[in-house]
């Protein structure tokens, strides 16, 4: 409905502006451009260089670069470049909009300044000028490439993983070129400066309508917003999308040329470009097949079939191929915990298997994929203990700017596993048999585990504190932070949801314990490991063993300022 309204608005606007344009009538008296106009390449090149310099210095284009650059670095700072590269094109939208207006004004410059007659008496006609204006878009396109490249280099330097797809990165600059060509075509069809502003708004509407679309038309949106799910689940075929955009760009360029120079070659080129765009659009539409949906569902439900594993001792790290470089980052906190536990514990095999986060599954737009998933969907829950005894890092864990969270979550998980905290949350009910979970079971599955009062919880907490080298340098007070639950404290350095919730007393005891020499505590824990990890051993008993004083309220107070999120 929005698309239809936007189209009607655009048509109405064109009709109104044309009727109200006395200059448009005057232009009819100018001799039509010859069909065999002589446009030498050297002339077009010289004019394109002149126009390119003007466009590159245009304040609108510069403002667009600043806006897009700021947006890209402030909002779109990526952590998985092979996925976040899709957001680059969206962040370049301000630049594309500004380029549209600037190129439109550049074409209309002569008309605006009353130079049409003077220029009309020159041997270089409007066709060559249109081509030169089109080529002059190389400046803004180059700016867009630089912004995209700078974003990639910066994100990579900040610890983002993977490499962006070149085709996806090029989508943004091509869209900037398309926007500039829209401005040129608009100037040739409707020589009114205000029209370009309306066109930017109309494209914004169109973009919003198409990208909000949950169906097959979504890939036709020029700018694709970043999706939460990984690329394997994303069904936009990027190759066809760029062909689609190039087809549109060609159609726009030849459409602008055809305004003054008509002939079989121009019509053929225009037809070819339009056919290319339509074919690529259709190919995108057709690419979303049930087989592809089924593969995406399998990718989520059976990660073992798609992951590569690495073994370090008895610890197995498995990650999807794109995330393989995360394994090295997972190792440090896990190794830190294992170094502090007795040998028999280290002799137990441990599996870390990457899973899609639960919120990514619930927010997935392709309903066909969601429908193909089993129940319950295996996911990386926000808890240290999982449904199968393994540790399940999600896709964002240990990416850049998440380092403290990465260390804490993995250390907590490993520590919880070491002391025997994992609780099997495998659902007893079988949904295939129509055996739905009860409300209590469902809440239990989603809720935090209450480990308060258990000595092993304090041990796990102490192991976590000792094996988080990334945050070990921080003052003790900054390691604990009050969670939303009020009565419990967590080591998560931000408020986005505690991976493990610990009671105030347990946290206080762990901090008392951490004030002791680590080697001494470690040796003592190893000697009494069976006792201190027995679920029946209470924190009070642990305090007696280590002669710990009851923690004061101040020990659990939130830190004054600590936010690494």
């Amino acid at each position: 409905m929005i698309i239809v309204l936007a189209a009607l608005l655009g048509v109405a606007l064109i009709v109104v502006l044309r009727e109200g344009s006395p200059r448009g009538k005057a232009a009819d008296s100018v001799t039509p451009e010859p069909t065999l106009e002589h446009a030498r390449g050297s002339v077009v090149r010289a004019l394109a260089i002149a126009e390119g310099k003007l466009l590159a210095r245009n304040p609108l284009v510069i403002a667009g670069v600043a806006l897009s650059g700021t947006a890209l670095f402030a909002v779109g700072q990526g952590s998985r470049l092979f996925l976040d590269d899709m957001g680059v094109a969206l962040m370049l939208f301000p630049m594309a909009g500004m380029t549209l207006i600037a190129s439109n004004l550049a074409v209309l410059r002569g008309r605006r300044d009353g130079l049409e007659e003077q220029f009309g008496s020159c041997p270089v006609g409007p066709t060559a000028r249109t081509i030169a204006h089109s080529l002059a878009l190389a400046g803004p396109v180059l700016y867009a490439c630089i912004v995209a490249a700078a974003w990639t280099i910066t994100a990579r330097a900040l610890g983002s993983i993977g490499r962006p797809h070149v085709v996806e990165l090029l989508t943004g600059p091509i869209l900037v070129a398309c926007a500039g060509l829209v401005g040129i075509l608009l100037a040739r069809l409707l020589p009114r400066s205000a029209a370009s502003l309306f066109m930017v708004i109309a494209i914004g509407f169109l973009e919003g309508a198409l990208s909000a679309e949950r169906g097959h038309l979504k890939p036709l949106a020029p700018f694709m917003p970043t999706l939460y799910q990984p690329v394997e689940v994303e069904t936009r075929p990027r190759g066809w999308h760029i062909v689609y955009l190039l087809g549109i760009a060609g159609a726009l360029a030849f459409g602008a040329i055809a305004r003054h120079r008509r002939g079989p070659r121009i019509w053929s080129a225009l037809g070819l470009a339009a056919t290319l765009a339509i074919s690529a659009a259709f190919a995108q539409y057709r690419a979303q097949t049930p087989a592809r949906d089924a593969r995406a569902a399998a990718w989520i439900a059976t990660p073992e079939a798609f992951q590569s594993c690495r073994h370090h001792g008895l610890v197995t790290y498995c990650a999807y191929d794109e995330y393989a470089e995360l394994i090295d980052r997972w190792r440090a906190p896990v190794d830190g915990v294992l170094a502090l536990v007795p040998a028999p514990v280290r002799a137990r095999p441990l599996l870390l298997r990457q899973r899609l986060p639960a919120e990514a599954i619930s927010g997935m737009e392709r309903l066909e994929i969601r429908a193909a998933l089993p129940f319950p969907v295996p996911s990386a829950g926000p808890f240290a203990w999982s449904d199968d005894g393994a540790i399940h890092p999600d896709m964002t864990l240990c990416n850049h700017s998440r380092e403290p969270r990465c260390q804490i979550v993995l250390a907590e998980s490993a520590a919880a596993w070491a002391v025997g905290l994992p609780i099997s949350r495998t659902h007893p009910a079988d949904p295939a048999a129509g055996d739905l979970p009860t409300e209590k079971e469902r809440i239990a599955a989603l809720g935090l585990m209450d480990s308060s009062g258990q000595a092993r919880a304090v041990v796990a907490l102490w192991l976590t504190l000792q094996s988080t080298p990334g945050i070990r340098g921080a003052p003790p007070d900054t390691r604990a932070r009050q969670a939303n639950r009020g009565t419990t404290y967590t080591l998560t350095p931000c408020q986005e949801g505690p991976p493990v919730a610990w009671s105030f007393k347990d946290t206080g005891y762990a901090r008392r314990l951490s004030e002791r020499p680590a080697a001494e505590v470690s040796a003592r824990l190893a000697s009494m490991w069976t006792i201190v990890t027995d679920p029946r051993t209470t924190t009070r008993q642990l305090a007696q063993i280590f002669d710990l004083q009851v923690p004061t309220l101040a020990m659990g107070a939130p830190p004054p300022a600590f936010n690494d999120c």
Binding site: S29, V30, T31, P34, T35, L36, E37, H38, R40, S42, V43, R45, A46, L47, A50, R109, G110, D113, G114, L115, E116, E117, Q118, F119, G120, S121, C122, P123, V124, G125, R129
Partner: protein, 271 residues
């Protein structure tokens, strides 16, 4: 409405002036000569080519410099940048040669020292000279200037005349003007037009000769005269029928012009 009808003339090296009242068809004729307008019917040949033929039109444009009645400018450009831009539109692609040509034409119109100045900062007279400079790019065979001296003060007009007369030694200049003085001092040929037709074609002196024997000086105004006005010495200058007691005086181009198009002037005055 027909702006031009049966107009036929040839112009050679030198300056040809188009004289005529408003609406005479001067600008229409010059726009056709500048190839920015094509005739509805009839034929037009410029520099030996037919401008209605697309390829021939491009050939003509390569040998043409055109200054419209109200020349436009990119005011944010410097004088140099603007002329340089027009030079590209005139197919001057070699950067060095083009820049040298831009400097040459700016020097020619006396704007060499203003080259880096923004056009918006130039005076009206300087802008007129800048408009002339762009027509001189590439030393075109044919210069079409539509009222080039309009809006200039006497000193600027003199400088303009000096400049155009220098150019006309090698090139064909066709200019339209309301100023008979310009025609008298500049042109070696003059065409008087009115209502789309040519009333006279010849040299300025031949034009003045038309009025010989029809210009009188008298003490009193006479209603029978085509035009009559009081001059600075207190006498009345009559064109047309001799009033009683008048004596013949030497005619000027202006007298002849008024004699040719005087009925329009009278009608406009009445209106």
């Amino acid at each position: 409405m027909q702006a031009l009808g049966g107009v036929s003339f040839e112009a050679e090296t030198g300056i040809t002036g188009l004289l005529g009242p408003n609406g005479a068809g001067k600008t229409t004729l010059l726009r056709m000569m500048a190839t920015v307008m094509s005739p509805d019917s009839g034929s037009l040949r410029l520099l030996g080519h037919d401008p209605t033929d697309p390829l021939a039109r491009t050939v003509i444009r390569r040998s043409l410099g055109y200054m419209p009645q109200e020349p436009g400018f990119h005011r944010s450009f410097s004088a140099f940048a603007f002329i340089d831009y027009v030079a590209i539109l005139k197919e001057m692609t070699d950067r060095r040669a083009r820049h040298a040509e831009v400097i040459r034409v700016l020097d020619l119109v006396g704007l060499g020292d203003q080259a880096r100045k923004r056009i918006r900062a130039l005076s009206g007279g300087m802008r007129r000279r800048l408009a002339l400079a762009q027509t001189l790019l590439g030393d075109p065979e044919l210069l079409v200037l539509d009222e080039p001296t309009a809006g200039l003060d006497p000193e600027q007009r003199l400088r303009f005349r000096e400049l155009i007369s220098d150019i006309a030694v090698r090139q064909t200049v066709i200019l339209s003007t309301h100023q008979t003085e310009d025609v008298a001092t500049l042109c070696n040929r003059v065409i008087v037009m009115d209502e789309g037709i040519i009333l006279f074609e010849g040299t300025p002196s031949e034009l003045a000769e038309i009025a010989r024997g029809r210009v009188w000086a008298a003490h009193e105004r006479d209603a029978r005269a085509t035009l009559s006005w009081r001059t600075g010495d207190g006498m009345h200058r009559h064109i047309g029928v001799a009033p009683p007691g008048a004596h013949l005086i030497d005619p000027t181009i202006e007298d002849a012009y008024l004699l040719l198009v005087g009925h329009r002037v009278v009608a406009e005055n009445v209106a």
